[in-house]
């Protein structure tokens, strides 16, 4: 697989299916793992990083679930390609910096991605569509077991898996769920919900993880604590919290429907109208309007647009995706034109 093959492919997690997919976009689990006897990436020499890259990529070739995948060596990619992988949620923004000896392995379904030499030697990630953390855990656990047979992990019985940053030590696991909460935002209840989440030692982030702002009513919620609880307990804790948030969002949607259906219908259809006819549109406006259209689709107010198309538009209207699609570097103003054109094409065809 070449990086350009990804453009015409829709990631597994964007299908818009799975449990509670009206509120939950995706569920993701990542495991941080390091090799024994090798310094963590930030403290390692080039030669050591090369050895880690070689050892880990060789091991991954022998893992059944990773057979149909491609290793992208970041030093060989230009800045648009790297940004493109970030926009597809296949790697972090941090991984695009100082790219020597860094790589990312992506499977054909695009639900598994393994970053090599990011903050830790391995960051294994699994993404599922909808609310599905346990299923994600089962798959990633299997991959981790296979890798543990081939690699000597840094591990201590009392501290668990050892990571560069002590905030990840223990299970090395972070479970996150991407939520779409337009009704809680519109009814101004979101501040209260986010404050409660923070009190329970969970973190809320934006669409693109660490350090990004929540936008277009999307919130990514994940566990902070990785030590002292088993993986299943951590997942059960996240699940318990997410179930409550789903319930609150669903309630808020019902109340809006009961109290101000016309206003909501007007807003949703205006949003769709702008997307279908705009000639110039920014990425920010696109996300906000698509969020309303997605809500309209969830509530049955918009029936003729597949949720998969809406989900896909969130990704392909991002800057690097537009430039890959056009195969040329575009200025911000040129992108706003191309973005509007692409959206019109995708929505009016239906």
């Amino acid at each position: 697989m070449q990086i350009n093959d990804l453009i015409n492919h829709t990631s597994e997690w964007l299908k818009g299916t799975g449990p509670h997919s009206d509120v939950v976009i995706s569920s993701r689990i990542r495991l941080a793992r390091n090799l024994n006897k090798f310094p963590f990436p930030h403290w390692a020499t080039k030669a050591q990083l090369n050895a880690v890259l070689e050892k880990t990529s060789l091991a991954m070739e022998n893992v059944e679930l990773l057979k149909k995948s491609t290793l992208f060596v970041l030093a060989n990619l230009d800045s648009i390609d790297k940004q493109f992988l970030v926009e597809r949620h296949l790697m972090s923004i941090e991984h695009t910096q100082k790219t020597e000896q860094k790589a990312v392995l992506v499977n054909d379904d695009e639900n598994i991605a393994v970053m090599i030499n990011e903050e830790d030697h391995l960051r294994i990630q699994l993404m599922q569509s909808g609310f599905n953390l346990f299923e994600a855990w089962e798959i990633i656990n299997g991959i981790d077991d296979s890798l543990a047979k081939l690699l000597d992990y840094a591990y201590l019985d009392d501290f668990g898996y050892l990571t560069a940053c002590p905030t990840n030590t223990g299970t090395g696991m972070r479970g996150s769920v991407m939520l779409h909460l337009p009704a809680l935002v519109m009814s101004r209840q979101i501040e209260r919900v986010l404050a409660a989440i923070a009190k329970l030692s969970f973190t809320t982030r934006g669409l693109y993880g660490e350090g990004t702002q929540a936008s277009g009513n999307f919130f990514q919620i994940s566990n902070q604590v990785s030590l002292g609880h088993s993986e299943s307990e951590i997942i059960e804790n996240i699940n318990g919290l997410i179930r409550q948030i789903i319930e609150q969002e669903t309630q808020a949607r019902e109340i809006m429907l009961a109290k101000s259906k016309e206003v909501l219908e007007d807003r949703i259809n205006r949003s769709l109208g702008i997307l279908k006819s705009a000639r110039i549109i920014t990425s920010q406006e696109t996300t906000e309007l698509l969020s309303m259209v997605r809500l309209g689709s969830d509530l049955g107010m918009i029936k003729d647009i597949d949720r998969r198309i809406i989900n896909e538009l969130f990704i392909i209207t991002q800057p690097a995706h537009l430039q890959k699609l056009e195969n040329v570097k575009l200025t911000s103003a040129q992108r706003d034109l191309k973005r509007a054109e692409l959206i019109r094409k995708k929505l009016n065809l239906l």
């Binding site: 403290w43 656990n141 992990y153 201590l156 898996y161 002590p166 223990g170 809320t204 604590v225 030590l227």
Partner: protein, 172 residues
């Protein structure tokens, strides 16, 4: 010293930010530090926050030991860790165990891993059997505390103490 944010609890996390040689200090209690951590992560960087927490763990006037004790495997000192907020390698966790155990407890509320382990030969599994019982108890204790079942928690605490005392005696 009281927390700069709530003004109620004693400040236990101390942050220093230097911009253009201008130094700003922020003193926070644990709960405000946790609430603010998301915002601070951007403003100060996680490494500063960790360094602040790590600083508090150090026994008094052992500054020299922090600089001179090097991880034999990767060469990192605890002073390095305080500066960058990252350990150097897996062996660092053994070398700096006495500083890291309380730090991990502060971050995670526990310093005892009870999740999965790398697939290991059968002998190792057998050896760790007893340990699992103790960590299971600790786990139950945490759950009891979270559920505010304090009587149950007290019972579990005593049970854990008894096992740990026994263990120490055996070790002696």
């Amino acid at each position: 010293m009281l927390c700069d944010v709530c003004g109620k609890n004693p400040a236990t996390v101390h942050l220093t930010e230097i911009i253009d040689e201008q130094m700003n200090e922020l003193h926070l209690c644990e709960s405000c530090a946790r609430h603010k951590s998301a915002a601070m992560e951007q403003q100060f960087g996680l490494s500063d926050l960790l360094a602040g927490m790590a600083d508090f763990e150090k026994p008094s006037s052992k500054e020299e030991e922090l600089v001179t004790t090097k991880c034999p495997s990767c060469g990192l000192t605890y002073a390095d860790f305080k500066k960058i907020g990252r350990l150097g390698c897996g062996e660092c966790y053994n070398v700096f165990r006495k500083y890291l155990a309380p730090l991990l407890k502060r971050i995670h509320g526990s310093n005892q891993h009870i999740g999965k382990n790398p697939v290991k030969p059968k002998v190792a599994v057998k050896l760790s059997k007893k340990k699992t019982d103790l960590s299971e108890l600790k786990n139950q204790l945490q759950k009891a505390i979270a559920a505010e079942a304090f009587e149950e928690a007290a019972r579990l605490r005593d049970q854990i103490k008894a096992i740990e005392a026994k263990k120490e005696n055996n070790a002696d």
